[in-house]
Amino acid sequence: MKRVFWYFLALLLVMGAGNQFVFAANQPSTLVIAAPADVRILDPAVNFDNASWRQTYVGYDRLVQYDGSSTRLKPMLAESWEVSKDAKVYTFKLRKDARFHDGTVVDAKAVKFSFDRLKKIGKGPSEAFAPLKEVQVVDQFTVRFILDYPFGPFLSTLATNGASIVNPRVMEFEKDGDLGQAYLADRMMGSGPYKIKEWVRDQRLVLEANNDYWGGRPRIQQVIIRIVPESSAQRMMLLKGEVDIAEGILIDQYAKLRNEPNVTVFEAPSQLTNIVYMNNKRPPLNNPKVRQALSYAVDYQGIIKHVLQGNATQMRGPIPRGMWGYDENLLQYKYDPAKARRLLAEAGYPNGFKLKIMYADRVPTWEQEVLALQASFAEIGVKLEPELYAWPTLREKVDRADFDLSMGIWSPDYADPYMFMHYWFHSSNQGLSGNRAFYKNEKVDALLEQAAMSPSQQERIRLYQQAQRMIIEEPPYIFLYQRNFLLPMSKRVKGFVFNPMLENIYNLQNMSLE
């Protein structure tokens, strides 16, 4: 028995030696972020989800960047630019002091290389650059982009992750003509303020500051992204001070967190919209009156108040608040069961009908939202049958128009109403690519095409608003709400600026720790 006691004591001592385990997040220059899942691929020409942008957006620079929390663009690698009269040629003057992490100069050749590579690889991120015909090197620090046709949103596409400027030396590591995809899958070869120091997959990814950054030495010298899948576990770590920012906390825990003395919950309206796709091809939903009726049958405020605990705003048409082109005077559907019943009767369905609605557990609040919809649709005689699907299956069924109603989310890749109007309503986008309601209206198509090609923002706003007014009368979707962006963080984190275009992305370069 005695011997057992001594073994036990020795074990305790060893554990004590490893006892830095309550790792102080409170190191003055190390920021610790808890994230629910690890990223898979870091190549900006390949990767397509916000979670990986968190890393790559600070590892690479782009020609332009968003100004603070606004959707205005300001110079980044490009010092200035000129646009030709026909809006088909953009010429950029590059800054001369930018260097890749290995010291290579960031020049016009690197810019051309990055866009050529992006287009040749041709995966998701390249889709935003469909109108881009050619990139030309004018001189070492001047580069020219030539478009096939004028494309209003072009400049803001240059602020997306896919437009990151990659060090051309990646070609030294090319394997089987993959343009360095295998090499860049777990590395970054950019010129941004941070680089990767260590990556232990599914546990932690450590970024360290690039102290030679042209934009100045970052104050946060090290960023540790820890993978903690479970919401409550993240919350405990935040309260213990072991992490500074917790990304994966579920909405029902915020009320408690707000009372914690060392935690603030950052809150801002976002562009993440939640809508219900109505299959416009399938009766009775092919009747605009029915779609209007359903839009009037939803208790929007009830869902926002009870399911989202107030952390959302009802949409007013497709273009969300905070995006230019938003129309304050547009019709906003209100909860009005009497009117909904009347519209159903006018459409020839006084006794209602049955519909199925698809959802997935990917968005944790969807189940409750579906139940709320079920209850309010029942009031107008529409029997709603919820169907839970795995995420890839739901998407596949949406793509094939094999559904009545489906819950859906959407957030824009760049700051342009094109991301909503063209994708959601143009008939050429029918299917998963955007027009998931399978809506078709030739007049709307024409307005959208005109708006996409026009170089004038004023003109584009006018056209989009005109299209919105037509769309809202025959609503292809139920426009539910735009969610608030919520981020619980330690009070010692200073200088975080949220840009609605850059969800999950931190302005690490300008942040600091107390």
Partner: protein, 337 residues
Amino acid sequence: MQIWGFIVRRILYLIPVLIGVTLITFALSHLVPGDPARLIVGQRASEETLERVREELGLNKPVPVQYISYMKDLARGNLGTSIRSQRPVIQDLRERFPASFELTSLALLFCVIVAVPLGVVCAVKRNKLVDHLIRVFALFGVSMPVFWWGLILLLIFYVILGWLPGPGRIAMDIAAPAGPTGMYLLDSLIAGDWQAFGSALSHIILPAFCLSYVYLAIMTRMVRSSMLEVLNQEYIRTARANGLSEWTIVVRHGLRNALVPTVTILGLSFGELIGGAILTEAIFAWPGLGSYLVESIGFLDFPSIMGFTILICVIYVMVNLLVDIAYGLLDPQIRWN
């Protein structure tokens, strides 16, 4: 020599088992509507891009053709490339498996150390107070949902008392031990890195305990009931009549015979836990096989799903083989053929 023939025969059985399991898994995962190419190129990609990526992944061919080419690769020991991480599946599994193996082994070790004595005590002190107490403790373990239990453990030992670290495999400021096994406890011991060993050990205690509790409860009840049965046998009475000490009777003659069903449970639990500890892995941020499977399914990452299935299948067969060998060792009446 009989045992070697037995082992070889059992390993050869693996081949038909693997063919059956891969066929079913492959068919099922490909029948589910869903397109992994979509998840790679993003939702807004054009049809041409999509078609090109499908071709790259070999998804444009008919499912039987895909299966045959998969099996051909498998025969060469190639598990394919993960769609999600674009890395060889074998590499993903090599990172995930040791974490799961370490956790499961420790959990079951703990389980045996605690459950066997408890079960014996229960049987010997049948219907006494101590028996009732232990049975309540066991019932508690079977009835508690693992996620609730895990969170409560974290709350008590990490948040309130601060005795043990929070989620994760090792402290953030300690380099992950690099070694041949991928198991942090073993690798840090091999390297003689006591700091890493201590940190890894303190990190594994809560998840291992949490994982073991359910099985501990089942096993305690199992040991108790089989001990009761054994203790009523005539040879026990004979042993008593011969005047053997109670310890010898209970442990040498009783327990050894009562262990056969326990070993069965142990083997099955191992197979179940190594790939199925999904909730425990999530709560304790433990990057094991269970969470790997869940992520792979969410992405319809066929090669990863297949790789996981094959690995678990091999483990099950191996563990059952070990269990059968153990039967023979425990009870000489059982023969290996």
